[in-house]
Symmetry: C2
Subunit: 235 residues, 2 copies
């Protein structure tokens, strides 16, 4: 199934990049069948109508796909390299994630944030990963979330924070997930969360969890944490 | 703990790159404590002796760390982009993997293999990830494994192949893992395994498994498959 992304279902036309992919890479033409999603659950089966560089389509079938019965929200401090943040977004989207919120934490270097987190680029990467993995809902991605207000306004059923102080045993994230509920998982920067940040999260109903026995880079923690939550929901 | 890699424990000296990292980045000098591993389980606590650009050390404590009670072996067709293969090796090493074998499958483009799989570069990336994640065993990485002999010589306790033919329900890799045993997981190329390849694997004791409900890129499948096996061993 060739899946394309068009956020505006009233246009009946692929945007320039999607259009070029359809005729240049996939060599599709008028009369061919494609599927189009708006990233908000709509899945449409369409017949192409190609006129030069304009790729229009006629919708022959339209379905609103249901959301999953659980939501995965990952809140993560950005890493210092743009490509690692991009990998993180791509991989979490492939695996399945409803929200990705970039957090500004005490140990996050504020000067790098705008340099390494380009929201429109991340949204394009997520759209690409959504199509690749044949999903129909785009994750919501937000940036520049100040830690304290973010913690205080968290409403998920299960609120978790990846944090393992020396010598303490904490449970693995996998064991804390409640089926068919929403889970929030906080991933700290390379320098970890500060004691003050941990205390605030605990005060507001977060539980600390482990992501496994090895020390993971921030982006690996986000992806494996996201994966562990997804696994716990489906196993 | 500052962990360095020196494969030859008889040298008592860091190689050029490790040396530069110690004095330039970490600003360590004579008298400072570092830890050194040989990637084969040896963990040594050492006192630095820096003379110009030569960073030697004296070993004050030496421990041979035990291997884990289970082994994770991932055999994967290389993706077409070098950086994705590198990302895959880095992430699997962080999470925990004993072997990574690159497979030549029917749908793998043979011309790209040497271009996108540089073994010495992959070994350097694995060594870096090993140190980063505070582990002491390097994964064994091999390339150019022809599919048929590889399948026929597989000796792991549990042999799995990520393959989900349309309409069939297969179990998730997580449910097939046996605690404290070795697991082999085969990950196919973007064009998937051929029917002939699947038949051969089944004939030689492999079981097909799912890696979850979404369609994953090869490198994402390898990393999440590796993670799922690790999780199943520790939960």
């Amino acid at each position: 199934m060739h899946l394309f992304y068009q956020p505006d279902p009233k246009l009946f036309e692929l945007d320039e990049e999607e259009a070029r992919h359809s005729y240049k890479v996939l060599r599709l033409g008028s009369g061919d069948i494609i599927h189009v999603t708006n990233g908000r659950g709509l899945l449409q089966k369409c017949i192409l109508n190609v006129q030069g560089r304009k790729v229009g389509y006629e919708v022959v079938e339209s379905v609103l796909m249901e959301r999953r019965s659980f939501a995965v929200h990952i809140a993560v401090a950005p890493t210092r390299k743009a490509e690692r943040n991009e990998w993180m977004v791509e991989k979490m989207t492939e695996i399945g994630v409803e929200r990705i919120d970039f957090l500004i934490t005490e140990h996050t270097n504020p000067e790098t944030i705008n340099r390494v987190v380009n929201l429109s680029r991340l949204n394009r990467i997520a759209a690409s990963a959504m199509k690749q993995s044949q999903q129909y809902y785009l994750p919501v991605i937000t940036v520049n979330n100040k830690y304290e207000p973010f913690i205080k306004s968290a409403t998920e059923a299960v609120k978790l924070m990846a944090y393992v102080p020396d010598q303490n045993k904490v449970e693995h994230v996998f064991s804390k997930v409640k089926k068919d509920s929403s889970t929030s998982l906080l991933i700290g920067p390379e320098g970890d969360f500060s004691e003050k940040e941990v205390a605030l999260a605990l005060e507001y109903g977060f539980t600390t969890v482990s992501l496994g026995p090895t020390r993971l880079r921030t982006e690996t923690a986000a992806v494996t944490g996201c994966h562990a939550i997804n696994l716990a929901q489906i196993i």
